[in-house]
Amino acid sequence: MNARTLDSSHLTGGQKLAIKYFTVAVILFTAQILFGLISGYQYLAPEFGYNVLDFNVTRMVHINALVLWLLYGFIGGIYWLVEEESGTELVGLRLANFAFWLLTLAVTVVVLVFLFIQTGPGDMSTLWLINEGREYIEAPRWADFGIVVCMLIFFWNIAATFMKGKWSGISGVLVLDLVALAGVYLAGMVYTPNISVDQYWWWWVIHLWVEATWEVLVACIMAWGLIKTLGARRKIVTTWLYIEVAMMFGSGILGLGHHYFWIGTPEYWLSIGGFFSALEPVPLVAMVVHAVYDSGVHKFKNSNHPALAWLIAHAFGNFFGAGVWGFMHTLPQINLYTHGTQWSASHGHLAFFGAYATINIAIFYMALQKWRGNVYMSAGLEGNGWKWKWALGLLNGGVVGMTIALLISGYDQAFIERALGGATWAAYFDAQNGVWFIQGLWWRQLFGFMTAAGLIILIWDLLTIGRNEKRSIQLVGDNTAAEVTS
């Protein structure tokens, strides 16, 4: 047999480490989907898991696994590219490996505690040891410190490696962005009895992550990915990156105000938040133009079809999920009725998946290509590449389906509970018991299974793609030249 094996001798030290991060990412992704299916099912059958594995637990695992696998993917992605981009070896590989195991140990303990201990008595010990009880950043305080230590090691490694090797536009943006990303996490670590102040800072983490620092981070990965897969010209890509940073931070930082409409904060946020967040879709449109234009210029000739397909899915997913679905409820006149309804869930699903799951999957494919010894991944793969195509179709179709189903439920809820019902508890349940609302939840569940099927095929494909391939990578564009200098 001359099947291609997964051979780590093709990889640099940072890339071997990246593979570890990717592996954990895929495991957490699987956990995310599993617990999503359970939470969704509990809406339909509330007795399921009642008093044993309650909705608040399954949902917490669902969203924490999400945040964590995306972070694992990002860290892996950056370790993957740092040595090529800087032209030198990672400065602290041993320490980086140590941080990986430390983080993974911490994550394992946190998840086990979430599942088996779940909640604690109403005093500070619970917040330190079990659960901080704030959506998305529930990790207890001890784990926060562990996470911060691991992030510092990661950050130091990346910055020092670029410092030793060479800087580029992409790496400059990346490193500054990582400072901001880690910095805003600290804003989420304090306790206060004041719920308004609590949520003020809580949104600094959540919003300034997903609508500012994460967006810029994936823009860096996207820039690098386009150079790699399409052989796009570095100068053009870098200029685009700067434009996107200007527009993203220009709108996203003050766009934070769209979460300050109703939490006790002053009325000026209604105008500031409404105005700047309404501009947030602009850079996302620019991204679509960028990706499609670049692909078109290169006539879609590229070295990695699955990766490029997922990069394009990212551009569109980001635009629709964050840009369109976000815009739909971002003006205060509308948000007054949709705030905290299934509208938010509809948007949250399409945005997280479209913007962040997609680009991680693209990087997984790029990594696998090299891991299998720079295998061919362009047109005409074994079985016409049915596995990656089905995975792409089912995952995207599933999430879009869930999004639409939730939007229908969300419309129903906003109308019955908020507009007609006077937003009381009885009105809430009037909406929840409505036939159309429940139908939407059934459709969500159905499309959830479609998503899960896509994930299974994706994993299968990741494990097997290129195994029987004899051809080697097809280099394209500027990558065909020996070494690109800018």
């Binding site: 509330p46 007795e47 009642y50 008093n51 309650d54 909705f55 608040n56 637990v57 949902r59 909640t119 008595p121 109403g122 619970t126 917040l127 079990i130 659960n131 009880g133 959506e135 529930e138 943006v173 009895p193 004041n194 719920i195 308004s196 102040v197 003020y200 700067y242 434009i243 200007a246 931070f249 930082i253 934070l256 979460h259 300050y260 409409f261 109703w262 939490i263 006790g264 904060t265 002053p266 009325e267 000026y268 946020w269 209604l270 007054l336 705030h339 905290g340 309804t341 869930a345 908020r418 507009a419 006077g422 937003a423 009381t424 508890w425 009885a426 809430y428 349940f429 009037d430 929840q432």
Partner: protein, 200 residues
Amino acid sequence: MTTSPWWVDEDFWRKMAIWVTTLMALVLIGLTFDSVTQITAGSERVPAYSVINHRIYYRWDDSRNFQVPVIGDPAPLFGKSLTEIEAEALVSKGKITTQAKNCMNCHTLLGNGAYYAPDLTKAWLDPSWGAEVVREQLMIQFLMDPETNARGFGSTRKMPNLDITEEEARGVVAFLKWMSSIDTNGFPRNFTPIAQEGDR
């Protein structure tokens, strides 16, 4: 040699990126100072914790065109008037409990959280508690044993048993009462509060 026009010039956009980001960050920091002052407990928008010694109600405000919370006559929670420090301790006990019991992954608070159970922003003022006089006791009972005291509202969803002690439940009720006094710019719109004697 051609020099590129400004709108495709790498250098121009790098500077733009830096300046725009710095400017926006500075504006946000400035606004944060102002906002945090305006939402510190004891301010106009976010009342002091001792507000739990008073009746809290809702009144339509013509100039702002939405309902605003009104702090009325003394109506001490559990019949005992608290000092500012005692009130803060009680509310804080409740707030920690809401975190320790992970309420936010079923409920929304100020509209943020999960959508499996009703919003808690105005839980204190919700008409489903029936009458004002029995409300406190009903809330304590419900929190301590939500399974038996579930009202259902025609749904089979029930709050799970979270082992909430009486002390914790009192804290939670205090926290909920205090939260209902926050000026949320009219959210939730057209909210219908519990009927209270003496008002309207």
